[in-house]
Symmetry: C2
Subunit: 124 residues, 2 copies
């Protein structure tokens, strides 16, 4: 793949679940179609959750330099150097601990995702 | 967002760069349009790179249980419990060290991405 191709490539993701509650511990519902992918997970497992920051305005994905923590007294920096949700591809990888499972419902500690956030993946 | 909506949501990503070489250290070219997002990065920074595992057959994204490391002597497990590229959304978050920068070309240590892999994000 050349750079010109990369520019024009669009990648499509399909959610595997959704954050239903951010009341501690966060509750995630896995889509029925993806239930089998949970096989082998155990309470206490530490996992990476990848989720989509769905509340971001699409226009904010075009910002390339921002004030860290929205603090305008700080100089703007490139988004690759800043922890911000304002990113071209607003995916949040977050380390969580699995504390409860009931069928396709998972409860995890450590997730900062808002309710309604599409979940993209769990990785050990 | 309800579960029915999540099922039908499609999320579109646009690459911000591309892996050009996996000869150590890996070389990544950032798209000219995204160059400003690099502002503030320094040699020696530890970063998360998110990249798309582009070589995966689209059919492999539908697999939900696999043999770990492709070893058929092991029982199949859900992909959320296994380190495998065979995932519904094959995104690889990888911790790297930035060792060299020249304009929009970055060299990083620790990236296992194949040449041609679209890069989606860098996060501190």
């Amino acid at each position: 793949m050349q750079i010109a191709e990369a520019t024009s490539t669009t990648i499509s993701l399909s959610p595997v679940g959704i954050v239903e509650s951010d009341v501690y511990p966060s509750r995630i519902r896995i889509l029925d179609d993806c239930a089998e992918a949970l096989d082998g997970l155990s309470i206490g497992d530490n996992l990476w959750v990848l989720y989509w920051m769905h509340r971001l305005d699409p226009d904010d994905r075009t910002l390339l330099r921002v004030h860290a923590r929205g603090d305008i007294s700080r100089p703007k920096r490139g988004v690759f150097a800043v922890r911000t949700q304002l990113r071209p591809n607003p995916i949040g990888p977050t380390k969580v601990a699995l504390v409860r499972v009931e069928s396709t419902m998972l409860w995890v500690e450590g997730l900062g995702a808002k309710p309604g956030s599409p979940v993209l993946d769990f990785q050990p």
